[in-house]
């Protein structure tokens, strides 16, 4: 990839490629400015004539299934990431593809994990052309060093649904790891030795892909109850010994942070919700599975009990801390996008109030609304935030890929978006003049909570007002920044970024928000 890539400046002032992997791009136009047109994409019409009447779609192995799906060079193969770092199906599928002799595949996972670093060899051998999906660890480094033939495309969970639905990415073959399935292809994640909870990330793939292969290590007689993936969308079912390493699929228990500084941040966040009046009967919130977020849930739970307040729903990533809220009657429902620990998996399998959701219901911006904007408050992390509240979640401050976007961008639509961050990490200040990679526009980020104080976005005078008399340490963001820079011995130098784009960050509407540059 030595050709000159044409760049355009988008509405956020960022230089972004006009073409990505041969497709023309729309630079980010500003919040709510892009108006999509046209009709949704759709897979070809199929006929029952071509499928077994007894419903038995089993084939002997993945390679056979892929051949029967008509696998050829340049196709798009997708996987979901509900098995997280324990997943064995994605590499199994890509290696089976290699045995058929195909080249130049586009691998389109809903996220990749360090244990899938074997994909690097497949790229080196030409089997995979490039990856569109989150990359971190070894895959992230491979991409950032400019070694991937195509450009990486980073999308949020909702943005991935949007891209599939809008026809930006056409999946040829979806290979779906299923902790439980029947021979017809009905599949679910809540039971089986490799149970992972929800399978929501695979739903779009099952609906829009030309071909769908379900891979399971727990085949049950028809019907698989409950099912989240409908067998009517599935071409073939493959039974394997194991789809993943259960120890790495869900953690035994998710751990609350023990760092006093992080606990302080978590408590500030909970107090902010209480003092601002957001924590009231019938409210809703979302928090992830990071150490600060878990501690926040625990603090909030105590405050809800003290004040006799009950939530209508909470959004997961579910963990035992959300499950506790449900069990104690502090929330009516958990609307769960992915399930992080064993308590979460047990709960979703047995409690009808713990409901599996998908990126369609929760996050897709190109739908008739989504849950994301109905959540009262969301607590998120970030690697950097700037004085205008713009935030970076995908790269280290030196520009190396660090995280996928996950649901992060989608969650910014919440009524009150809170970033909970230590004010510096290893001497590196978190509040900067300008973020390295723009992942979330500052207009949508309302509050930044650090151990040294709480900054409220000036565009939210209502929030600022609501906590004026709370005794919380509310300070201008520049103030916190200056204090931290003094502690750290001055402003950090700006790391040199390269000049060649290696990946783009999409906004939730499919426009290009920013560029990841080759490491300098």
């Amino acid at each position: 990839m030595t050709e000159k890539i044409e760049l355009a400046q988008n509405a956020a002032g960022r230089m972004v490629p006009a073409m990505v992997n041969g497709r023309p791009q729309i630079p980010y136009l500003g919040l709510g400015k892009y108006q999509p047109r046209g009709r949704k994409a759709a897979p070809p019409v199929r006929s029952s004539r071509d499928f077994p009447e007894d419903g038995d779609k089993r084939v002997h192995d993945l390679e056979t299934a892929l051949r029967k799906c008509g696998l050829r060079d340049g196709m798009v193969i997708s996987n979901h990431h509900h098995l997280r770092d324990g997943d064995q199906v994605a590499l199994m599928a890509l290696r089976a593809a290699e045995r058929t002799g195909v080249k130049d595949l586009l691998w389109f996972p809903s996220a990749s994990f360090p244990s899938q670093k074997g994909a690097i060899e497949l790229m080196e051998r030409g089997v995979i052309h490039h990856i569109e999906g989150s990359m971190n660890g070894p895959l992230g480094d491979y991409c950032t060093q400019g070694k991937m033939r195509g450009m990486g495309v980073l999308r949020s969970h909702g943005g991935r649904w949007q891209a599939i639905q809008d026809g930006e990415v056409h999946i040829d073959i979806a290979v779906i790891a299923a902790p439980t399935a029947d021979f017809f292809g009905n599949a679910d994640g809540s039971h089986g030795k490799s149970a992972c909870g929800s399978l929501g990330f695979a739903l779009a793939d099952s609906i829009y892909a030309d071909h769908v292969v379900v891979v399971t290590d727990n085949l049950v007689p028809f019907p698989c109850i409950p099912w989240q993936i409908q067998g009517n969308n599935v071409d073939y079912v493959v039974e394997v010994e194991s789809i993943g390493d259960p120890a790495k699929i869900v953690s035994g228990t998710t751990q609350i942070t023990r760092s006093p500084d992080r606990l302080r941040i978590a408590e500030f966040v909970a107090r902010f919700l209480r003092e601002s009046g957001i924590m009231r009967n019938g409210f809703s919130f979302q928090a992830g599975a990071g150490g600060i977020a878990l501690a926040f849930v625990d603090y909030l739970r105590r405050m809800m009990k003290e004040d006799g307040v009950k939530a209508r729903f909470v959004r997961g990533g579910s963990t035992k801390y959300l499950v506790e809220l449900l069990r104690e009657g502090l929330t009516d429902y958990i609307l769960d996008g992915q399930t992080f620990d064993l308590d979460g998996v047990k709960s979703i399998a047995s409690d009808p109030r713990h409901v599996a959701t998908s990126p369609f219901t929760s996050y897709n911006y190109h739908g008739k609304g989504s849950f994301a904007s109905m959540v009262d408050a969301v607590v998120l992390g970030a690697t950097e935030v700037d004085v205008n509240f713009n935030a970076n979640v995908v790269t280290h401050s030196d520009g190396r890929l660090l995280h996928g976007i996950g649901g992060w961008q989608n969650c910014l639509a919440a009524g009150c978006t809170i970033l909970a961050l230590p004010s510096f990490r290893d001497r590196i200040p978190v509040i900067v003049d300008e973020v390295t990679t723009l992942t979330g526009p500052g207009e949508l980020i309302d509050v930044v909570v650090t151990e040294r104080g709480i900054a409220v976005n000036p565009n939210r005078p209502d929030l600022l007002d609501s906590v004026k008399k709370s005794g919380l340490p509310v300070r201008p963001i520049q103030d916190i920044k200056m204090e931290v820079e003094k502690i750290c011995g001055g402003k950090p130098a700006r790391p040199k970024l390269g000049e060649r784009p290696v990946a783009v960050v999409k906004w939730v509407d499919g426009t290009v928000l920013d560029t990841v540059w080759q490491a300098g």
Binding site: L263, R425, I428, E451, R452
Partner: protein, 398 residues
């Protein structure tokens, strides 16, 4: 410390945060060569190199090979490690002190200030220093004694000195626990110039030990032009120390309080330390009595189980009931529980406010006798009520 060609100080490795390792090798010529590996190199690599070169210059080092592995250390830590490594490499002559920017000294502390909680910070673990004040203990204790390995004492006292100089602990009183005398005298020589508010003297058994420390401090204060009082808090950790509690408390006017170290005390008695502390009840009440007799504060030991907040609350409440005015903390999570336990109850505050009001009323009317309802109130009761109201105000309770 024996002189050797290479001096090393500090720590590095995957699990180390906010510290660095410096190795300085003396050379006969060739100038100063600095090799740097740092996890923050893209952001502060240049700044670290510039700082290190400046420190080396200030230390009078012209020819040396310097190797640094940095784990995100802040400037005051970098300066301390460079200086410690230089001294260990035998650079001990003129200009052997590296400088870091000195912040304005906080106001000096009062002898009877609030000392409910004192947070221990291991003197060679810089990662705990910078945010310690945020957690709101009444005091921080930079510890040079038990939490610092014998071989690391020299480096730790340089680090503690720089910490006193450069770290903002907010409203916290800045205490240092020195080593047992005579080693502790070397600690004093390094740190007194930075005017810590209070020195904890460990394993005190006789008043002469306190007097010796006091003399040394007076001398160092004069040398460094430190004018404010540096208070003393002897730690009694043996049966003999407890027997001498009063004479120790009364040994110099700089003593602001007495405290007790229960690990060593129970070891001295050859008894097991229990959750309710029955075996040390005598020692603790004896200490309280001696402290009050000498007009100084009585401060309790630490509660060692950081996971047991209920146990801590029980201990602290009992401690307050015995007459202690505070205790030590080994984790910031203990601070709030301790403050809760040592706060006067609202019933106590109400009663005290009424007594003070009655006294003021009586004074206004020129009455010699103060009474509340049908009860006569003695002057010491009024005095106690006043103190309680003051404390409650300081704690934001009245």
């Amino acid at each position: 410390m024996t002189r050797s060609a290479v001096g090393e100080a500090g720590h590095w490795g995957k699990d180390v945060r906010s510290d660095l390792h410096v190795a300085i090798e003396r050379r006969d010529g060739g100038g100063v060569q600095v090799g740097l590996e740092s996890r923050v190199a893209p952001y502060y690599g240049e700044s670290i190199l510039a700082q290190v070169r400046q420190e080396l210059g200030a230390l009078g080092i012209r020819d040396a090979q310097v190797t640094i592995h940095d784990e995100g250390a802040l400037p005051f830590v970098i300066a301390a490690r460079v200086e410690a490594a230089a001294r260990r490499a035998g650079f001990t002559g003129e200009g052997s002190r590296a400088t870091v920017e000195k912040m304005a000294l906080p106001p000096s502390s009062a002898r009877d200030r609030l000392r409910r909680s004192r947070l221990y910070l291991p003197g060679s673990e810089p990662k705990y220093f910078i945010n310690a004040g945020l957690h709101g203990p009444d005091a921080v204790i930079l510890d040079l004694e038990d939490s610092v390995a014998r071989s690391d004492k020299d480096a730790a006292r340089i680090l503690v000195r720089n910490t006193l100089r450069a770290v903002d602990f907010g409203a916290c009183e800045r205490m240092v626990r020195i080593n047992q005398v005579p080693l502790g005298l070397e600690d004093l020589a390094e740190i007194i110039g930075e005017a810590p508010d209070l020195i904890l003297i460990p394993k005190v058994e006789r008043p002469e030990q306190v007097a010796e420390v006091d003399r040394m401090i007076a001398e160092l204060k004069a040398r460094h032009g430190v004018e404010r009082t540096i208070w003393l808090m002897p730690i009694l950790e043996s049966a003999l120390g407890i027997e001498n509690a009063f004479v120790i408390a009364a040994s110099t006017p700089q003593v602001a309080g007495l405290t007790i170290g229960l690990e060593d005390y129970t070891a001295d008695l050859a008894v097991v330390k229990s959750a309710d502390g029955g075996e040390s009840l005598y020692a603790r009440t004896r200490l309280v009595n001696a402290a009050k007799a000498a007009g100084v504060q009585a401060i309790d030991s630490v509660f060692g189980d950081v996971g047991d907040m209920d146990g801590l609350l029980r201990w602290a409440e009992n401690s307050r009931a015995l007459g202690f005015e505070g205790m030590g903390c080994i984790h910031p999570a203990q601070i709030r529980v301790i403050h809760e336990a040592f706060a006067p109850t609202s019933a106590e505050i109400d009663k005290a406010l009424k007594i003070v009001a009655a006294f003021e009323e009586a004074e206004k009317q020129g009455l010699a006798v103060v009474s509340l309802g049908s009860k006569m109130i003695d002057p010491p009761v009024v005095e106690r009520a006043r103190k309680l109201v003051e404390r409650a105000k300081a704690m934001g309770r009245a």
